[in-house]
Subunit: 310 residues, 2 copies
Amino acid sequence: METFDFLIVGAGCAGASGAMYASRLNLKSVMYGEMPGGLITTTHLVENWPGEKSISGPDLAMQLVDHATSFGVEMKNEKVTEIKQAEISDQSKTAGFIVKTASNEIKAKTVLIATGTKHRKMNVPGEDELANKGVSYCALCDGAFFKEKTVCIVGGSDSAAKEALLLTEHAKKVYIFARSTLHPEPINMDRVKKNDKIEVREGTKIKEIIGKDKVEKVILESGEEIEMDGVFIAIGHIPLSGLAEKLGVELNDHKEIKINRHSETNIPGVYAAGDVGDSEFKQAITGSAEAVTAAYYAFEYINNNEIVFE
Amino acid sequence: METFDFLIVGAGCAGASGAMYASRLNLKSVMYGEMPGGLITTTHLVENWPGEKSISGPDLAMQLVDHATSFGVEMKNEKVTEIKQAEISDQSKTAGFIVKTASNEIKAKTVLIATGTKHRKMNVPGEDELANKGVSYCALCDGAFFKEKTVCIVGGSDSAAKEALLLTEHAKKVYIFARSTLHPEPINMDRVKKNDKIEVREGTKIKEIIGKDKVEKVILESGEEIEMDGVFIAIGHIPLSGLAEKLGVELNDHKEIKINRHSETNIPGVYAAGDVGDSEFKQAITGSAEAVTAAYYAFEYINNNEIVFE
């Protein structure tokens, strides 16, 4: 069974950045990802990766992954199915981890979980077909592309309200379609009410998004049709923390992995970074920094502990 | 008096990244820096900025600063001399900050302190007297003046090793004098070991630097004298936290600014990021992420408080 110093689950911005640093620290590293490049590969243009004025999501992801592999990190396009701590006989030593994939079993002295999230979808016709053609899951990423346009936010949460407010800095008109009610923090509710560009429609659901090469209109469940340039879906993310939870890693109420400023979880030797973690403000750059930090503390941990597997 | 939403002190990697994000959040932002690009501009090659396999320090810094100014951030090459909280009459409101520069006074709703560090000195006879006459704190800046000469690096860190490697491109002989041990990143340790021009002396301290118009030799604490043309000092950094301290920002024992995961200091509305902060593991990427995070929480803070100046 092959042994790695640093095994990364997830091959997005965070995973790749952590892998790159780990390999510079001479940690034998491997990166497992079912979606090479991660969720950012679904983003049309990234304008907020510091130093890159404008780059496509896939290109940014590829640069990060290339950087890691150029230092010798192995990249495996394979699903990790289980991580468990090895059962060891000598309790004065430190137990490593046994990682199972679809086809293999590997030993890892430390593990970085950078599995990210998936967008919660509305599951209506047009949503998948017009993704990146006006349908977006990130107002901060894509809002600036809708200068003087008409857009809508789908969702009723505080995040939805905040995304709507953010969009008013670009768009001329912003609908909020909340399935039940709009229920943000009171202060954000006030701001929404005071903002002339925003029209709130509660008890409203989109039935279909219509457009050929880009979003043209939405059809509501009431049958009403509204001209629309952009549909921002803010009904939440689902953290991909199942593997971590089974291992015993502590999650918060949103099923995000709890980490500290060292990117450490409650289990020594297990780190988390990026969108699957519990940082409130999640960006590509912050996730990368968390992973880089994880690599450094994994290096320290490996140097300070005698890690064994049986 | 002009009012800014987000005033950044420091124009290095952290400051520029925070400025870029702030401007994307439509915060009116200005960046004050005496050293545009910051300390990374004294670094020959950066190989660990995720996505950039190899870039010079000045080029990376310029990319980050350009990114910020492309979104309209103003960049001022001027020293900030004081930051103080405004004295306000209505205590139900929130006091902004009055920022003094050499020539001006500005109002700022929030402040990001990203002032970085300066080089630490050895404090031995000859060091000040021979500064710029063979004594240097920047191999990148001054290395080329020592073609086919004998030089030494003082220090045991990864930076010290990298500076030594850089100097071998010019000098015929490079000593590394490490007070205790040489302990760079493993990849750089390998490079040092393989380089015939480098001689590592651990447990070694310089007692005095001798020279008339230029460095001629060094005297070690052992009494040994070594002919020397250049002395490069790489023994660490002193946080530039004086402005923050005067404002009442809490520092740790190393005089670094204490921050939390939101990059908040103990004073609401004042943030810190990068090398001046108290993160143990400091890298360009982690400082940038801290600054980006600061920009976001400054945006939230401005939205949640009525900030006034009198």
